[in-house]
């Protein structure tokens, strides 16, 4: 390397010369470059200066007839990294990468101690690379990217590539690629690929991630090019909660309200019942809440639980939880990362108002068998991955199950002995790289829950997802992803008691989506994403059948529903200037409800009830019942106020054509999804958000403050007295109103040091208005009232403290305002009967929620050659024993009404979990 730098000095002082007039006639057929050069030397008498290694094994085939020398040289060096310089004295100096510049930039000598990246927009940009300190220089590998071209006026070039684990050959996702001394940075995607804009010239690039030894390279970039990383694992960093995967993303990305969670990083968050749960970790971040322990689903920025799109490897996961929401249905060992979009939703996603949870399963290893096992008090989990065709394809399988059935059977309580409580989930992923340009991925997932809600009933539900994805690279600029995903969610209740009301009730929804997403790296300033997606739904809304001949249950069968949902989208990530980035997307959403169906038509402008029914219209198979749709804007922008400070804003609107029918905030086994039809309109949402982001001291500290305002239309709610299950005339029970929510979210993260973690605080409100001129359709006088999940104050603190490399402790504290509830406030007599008199909808609140969890982690020792790497976790969930209400209800005892609350984890729950991986 030293030689090269000496050569630079030589070149800078080379005399100005000109030998371009020379014309030659010569012809080469598969001649090695070195031979070609000596031939030209012979013909012209010119002297070439070069380093032999540079020429490599390039061979030349060309015919020149009275061709100017520079044209000849241009041709023969076209496919190499070599530039040439013709000097006056008849010598030709070959250089690798560099163009020899015969003038020095003015400030050259004045800027001796730093890199200079050509600040000249209108000239050919010369590049000068100067030495840093000798030590640095020796320690870091230097890589040259691209060949400098004379007419290149660009200041920035694109460096892209793939990061692979040198041991397993697997891509490393979420690897931070940081340009030292600047605020530039990116991360690798799920396939380990990255792309970054670098200023021309020398950059020190650092690739770092959890569990990977940090790698630094000096990259001298002359043109667009590729640089792959082969990185080693480092066990020494395993217990560190590094939130640096996002490094500069919080500041640099254009999208607001995006959160990326990686399973590795939530490892030290205290566990409940020994389960590491990525979605539980999500709840510690601002803007994402649940209605309480045991509540179903997630409320994102004041949205209903059905407004979140859970995608597992591109397939929709309808019920992301096990056991009424106590466990998540995602296997922590196979889950790679989750990106949560709660503000600006990229144009490629559609169909839900509040958020997208894009969950990616890890790619399977293609090099060597490995696995991970955990044994907890309630569940056990195994993950194995193995190469199928070494270097090309791998298979990953994971399985998780509970032994609670066994626990229940050992209990003395006879009622519990006959109870059942079990769940499991299995996942398999196969990835096959055919070549650099084609990769196939297939995922299969199945989760099942079966438990007794009462001793004589059995409730079961299951999710099934099958996805197939083909990634294709057309060329450096164009890539495509085609995916086909099918998912099915069903539940079933079997009631087999002593009475004659035994029944079997079932519900099923199935959807299949075909999606094409293309990416076009148009230029430094523009990157286009575009594509189409089409989805077919089929719903069997429910049937109830008598379980045996003695049952008096009348069979009911609600006819199936089907619909088509499609979207076409395009977005442009447009870098207006170094400071200003705008990501503008447009999506057109389309929905058609299809027959065969019966649709009830009601008198317009009157409440829908049997009395206003005009006719029942029949629609034939696949006949279009009704179409909905419209354009959706997805716009976000980022502006750098300073190197480490940015301001971002976004606007988006969305349509949602599918609704979850639930009038409970607690999970009810009978919540069903309903497709929009003639009477039930799609929900629509609009959100604007604005945020300020700042990194301090690199990204040791991250601070963000984000605010949002959301308005939604046709939000589903229910009339007083609504009954939703197996109701053929649902439209007479539901109301569609306006939603309004707003909030401000503060997040402070400390990423480095012995003590790290984050603190999030959110102040938010969420309201709904159900107004009509008819009393039966008016709730709370038609005024805005707090929605079921309006929890103004939400504070989460997650802290980790590392004592040594092997021992660490963490704690997690959550405080939330109690959610609104409708209370009975008295009785009244009517029609010779006594009735309960309820308050206005959501007029009261249940007691506030707070909880503190602690955990202590111990790593096994770190001998790299050891067969297995082990990890012990000891946690106490709800250390304070706070009795957080799961549900509140009222009973009359001795003529007195009493309020009761039930809690799920009312006492501290200690757990010990053993994990190992190999």
């Amino acid at each position: 390397m030293r030689k090269l730098f000496s050569l630079f000095s030589l070149l800078f002082f080379a005399a100005v010369g000109n030998a371009q007039e020379e014309r030659i006639t010569v012809s080469f057929t598969d001649i090695p470059l070195e031979q070609v050069i000596s031939d030209i030397e012979e013909i012209t008498g010119l002297q070439f200066y070069y380093v032999e290694e540079w020429l490599g094994r390039t061979t030349i085939t060309a015919d020149f007839n009275d061709t100017a020398l520079d044209e000849v040289l241009d041709t023969i060096f076209k496919d190499t990294l070599i530039n040439y310089f013709l000097s006056d004295d008849g010598s030709v100096i070959l250089t690798r990468n560099n163009i020899i510049i015969d003038q020095l930039p003015e400030e050259y000598f004045g800027k001796s101690d730093e890199e200079i990246t050509g600040p000249f927009e209108d000239e050919v940009n010369p590049l000068f690379v100067q030495e840093e300190s000798a030590e640095e220089l020796m320690a870091i590998e230097t890589v040259r990217i691209g060949r400098q071209t004379r007419n290149n006026r660009r200041r920035n070039f694109t460096l892209s590539g793939i990061a692979l684990n040198s041991e397993t050959g697997k891509p490393i996702p979420e690897l931070a690629i940081i340009v030292k001394g600047t605020n530039l940075g990116t991360t690798t995607d799920a396939d380990g690929r990255y792309s970054i804009e670098l200023p021309a010239g020398m950059n020190i690039i650092e690739a770092r991630s959890l569990g990977i030894s940090t790698n630094r390279k000096r990259v001298i970039i002359y043109n667009n090019g590729t640089l792959d990383f082969d990185l080693e694992e480092s066990f020494t960093q395993l217990d560190e909660v590094v939130v640096s995967g996002e490094t500069d993303r919080n500041v640099a990305a254009a999208v607001t309200g995006v959160t990326v969670l990686e399973v590795e990083k939530i490892k030290t968050i205290p566990l409940v019942l020994g389960e590491r749960d990525i979605l539980k970790a999500a709840v510690t971040l601002p803007g994402i809440t649940t209605a309480g322990e045991g509540a179903q689903g997630y409320n994102v920025r004041g949205g209903r639980v059905d407004q979140n799109l859970f995608l597992l490897d591109k397939g929709v996961l309808y019920n992301p939880t096990h056991f009424f929401g106590i466990f998540s249905a995602l296997n922590p060992f196979t889950t790679g990362d989750v990106s949560i979009y709660k503000g600006g939703i990229p144009a490629e996603y559609g169909g839900r108002l509040s958020s997208v949870f894009d969950i990616n399963t890890k790619d399977a290893t293609i090099e060597k068998l490995s696995g991970e096992v955990s044994i907890g008090p309630v569940t056990g989990n195994v993950m194995l991955e193995a190469p199928i065709v070494k270097g090309k394809s791998g298979l990953l399988v994971g399985g998780r199950a509970t032994y609670s059935d066994w626990i229940l059977r050992t209990l003395d309580e006879p009622e519990l002995q006959n109870s059942q409580a079990s769940f499991y989930d299995v996942i398999g992923k196969y990835n096959h790289a055919f070549n650099e340009n084609n990769e196939l991925k297939a995922t299969g997932y199945y989760s099942k829950d079966a438990f007794s809600v009462t001793s004589d009933s059995l409730f079961r539900y299951s999710n099934r997802i099958l996805t197939l994805e083909w990634d294709h690279k057309f060329n450096e600029k164009n890539t495509a992803v085609i995916s086909l995903a099918n998912s099915e969610y069903q539940f079933n209740i079997e009631f087999d008691g002593q009475t004659d009301t035994n029944f079997d009730l079932g519900y099923k929804i199935n959807e299949t989506e075909l999606k094409l997403k293309m990416k076009y790296l148009h230029s430094e300033a523009h990157t286009f994403d575009y594509g189409v997606a089409a989805k077919y739904y089929s719903v069997e809304p429910g049937s109830i059948v008598p379980l045996d001949a003695g049952s008096i249950v009348t069979p009911v069968d609600i006819p199936p529903e089907q619909a088509l949902e499609a979207g076409i989208f395009i977005s442009d990530s447009f870098k207006v200037s170094d400071k200003f980035l705008i990501d503008a997307g447009l999506r057109y959403a389309f929905y058609a409800a299809l027959g065969e169906a019966e649709q009830r038509i009601y008198e317009p402008n009157l409440p829908k009830n049997p009395g206003t029914l005009l006719e029942v219209r029949q629609f034939g198979n696949n006949e279009v019942i009704e179409t909905y749709g419209g354009p959706e804007a997805r716009v976000s922008a980022r502006y750098f106020l300073a190197d480490d400070t940015s301001i971002k804003a976004s606007f988006n609107n969305t349509y949602q054509f599918i609704h979850l029918l639930t009038n409970n905030t607690t999970a009810s086994p009978t919540d069903t999804w309903k497709l929009s039809d003639l009477n039930i309109k799609p929900q629509q949402g609009y959100q604007v958000s604005l945020g300020v982001y700042k990194n301090i001291n690199g990204n040791d500290y991250e601070i963000s403050l984000e605010s949002y305002y959301k308005r939604s239309e046709n939000i589903l709610d229910y009339k007083v007295g609504a009954q939703l299950l197996l109701n053929e005339t649902l439209e007479t029970e539901v109301l569609q109103g306006d939603g309004r929510s707003y909030g401000i979210e503060f997040l402070l993260k400390k990423n480095a040091g012995r003590l790290n973690g984050w603190l999030g605080y959110t102040y938010s409100r969420s309201f709904i208005r159900l107004d009509s001129e008819f009393p039966e359709e008016r709730i709370n006088n038609g005024e805005y009232f707090p929605s079921n999940f309006d929890k103004p104050h939400d504070l989460s603190v997650v802290a980790n403290y590392k004592f040594t490399k092997r021992f660490s402790a963490s704690a997690n504290f959550v405080y939330q305002t109690g959610r609104p509830v409708t209370y009975p406030i008295g009785s009244f007599n009517f029609n010779n009967s006594e009735f309960v008199f309820y308050s206005d909808r959501n007029a009261f609140r249940i007691p506030d929620f707070y909880r503190l969890d602690v955990s202590f982690n111990m790593e096994g020792n770190h001998k790299i050659k050891k067969f297995a790497h082990s990890f012990w976790n000891f946690s106490i969930y709800n250390v304070l024993g706070r009795n957080n209400p799961f549900s509140v209800f009222f009973v009359t005892e001795n003529g007195e009404i009493k309020a009761y609350q039930s809690s799920i984890f009312a006492i501290p729950i200690p757990t010990i979990t053993y994990n190992f991986r190999f």
Binding site: S419, S455, D500, I825, D840
Partner: protein, 401 residues
């Protein structure tokens, strides 16, 4: 409250399934404040009669029952300027000063001014079309639960197809014969004093009584989904053959009310609140808007409903023997165990205190009292005195055969 208990059960089992780590505890809901609101129950019909409107207040859970809304001014007006004034006949019960009927094609409005000066009113309601109750009839059936009993059905038909919303109420009256009645009774022997009692002839009729009960369920039927506006074999009431009420002649008066859409919806929703909650469904709770609103404060909550309905009614009688000839009667409301309480024991007087409490009736003398037995055989009061559960006066409408 059965609903809440069902929920409690549900929660308890659910959590029991969750490894017994859940707990249910009482808490003090500080925020709950009882709200007193006016409850209006008014149904004006097309029958020429003294119409009745009930006004009460909501009451707290710990209270026994509603407090009547007294001293209110109640008036019904129609769209042609007719006014019908109501006066309070007993606490909370307001009766029209004159008989009147709601007429077809007219719109009626209810206005209330309470004692504290607050005013309430409804929008104008039109009388729905009138449809006669064609017939009611009783049949012996075995119901879907396998219970043998008497079903009372209603049939009705509106050829114009405009009635659609039917609500039924009934009043059932039955004769009760006290199975252990004797002409004599026990009274405290005031002459002897102390613990003494004596046998005297009864002074009032206590053997045969009649009892009338009103329906408490909301019974509704809608014909919109049917090909024609016909009510056919609609079950109004089912009485098990083990129910004593049909032992000694039974009568039922079924009233058929044709409701407006709005009334029908209101009653239907109200009914969902009272029906027993099934384990797997839940009803959206909330304040149920009626059609009466405060004109003083539009945010004031007013419960109940003002209904204008057309009514037709029919009565039927039957005897137990009509359906169960020669079969034993249903068991009486009480198994009527005899006992012979001692006159006194270590603790003091026994029988005389029971006599004073009026909970037994004399059956016979206890010829040979065993140890710890007294001189008289007695039965629970209801077995020897039907006035405990009925009225000895024969109702006006009662006919034999």
């Amino acid at each position: 409250m059965k609903k809440l208990k069902a929920i409690l059960k549900y929660i308890t089992f659910l959590v029991a399934g969750l490894f017994l780590i859940t707990c249910v505890e009482e808490f003090e809901p500080e925020t709950i404040t009882f709200e007193s609101a006016l409850v209006v129950e008014a149904t004006i019909t097309n029958e020429m009669k003294t119409q009745e409107i009930l006004l009460s207040r909501t009451y707290a859970f710990e209270d026994d029952g509603p407090e009547a809304e007294t001293n209110a001014t109640v008036q019904v007006t129609d769209d042609q300027g007719s006014r019908f004034n109501f006066v309070e006949s007993q606490a909370g019960v307001y009766r029209s000063t004159a008989e009147f009927s709601a007429n077809e094609g007219r719109n009626y409005t209810l206005n209330i001014t309470t004692d504290d000066g607050r005013t309430y009113s409804t929008s104008a309601l039109e009388l729905p079309p009138s449809t006669g109750l064609d017939s009611i009839y009783a049949e012996r059936i075995v119901d879907s639960n396998g219970v043998d009993g008497i079903a009372i059905y209603a049939d009705s038909f509106d050829p114009t197809g405009t009635s659609n919303n039917y609500r039924y109420t009934y009043e059932e009256t039955f004769r009760i014969i006290a199975p252990s009645w004797t002409p004599n009774d026990l009274v405290p022997d005031e002459d002897l004093g102390g613990c003494a009692v004596k046998v005297v002839p009864r002074e009032t009729e206590q053997q045969t009584c009649y009892r009338t009960d009103s329906s408490t369920d909301i019974i509704q039927f809608q014909t919109n989904d049917l090909d024609e506006d016909r009510v056919s074999r609609f079950l109004i009431r089912f009485i098990s053959n083990q129910d004593y009420i049909i032992s000694h002649r039974y009568s039922i008066l079924v009233r058929q009310l044709i409701q407006s859409d709005q009334s029908y919806t209101f009653y239907e929703t109200l009914n969902q609140f009272s029906s027993i909650e099934s384990l797997f469904s839940s009803t959206q709770p909330g304040f149920l808007n009626g059609n009466v609103s405060s004109t003083t404060d539009e945010n004031e909550k007013v419960l109940g409903f003002f209904e204008v309905a057309t009514v037709d009614e029919k009565r039927l009688f039957f005897n137990y023997e009509d359906f169960y000839p020669g079969e034993p009667l249903p068991p009486y409301v009480n198994p009527c165990m005899t006992s012979a309480p001692v006159l006194a024991n270590e603790g003091g007087c026994v029988l005389v205190n029971i006599v004073r409490a009026n909970t037994i009736r004399y059956l016979d003398d206890n010829g040979t009292p065993g140890p710890r037995e007294g001189p008289y055989l007695v039965v629970p009061r209801v077995c020897g005195d039907c006035t405990e559960i009925g009225n000895s006066e024969v109702p006006e409408f009662w006919t034999e055969e």
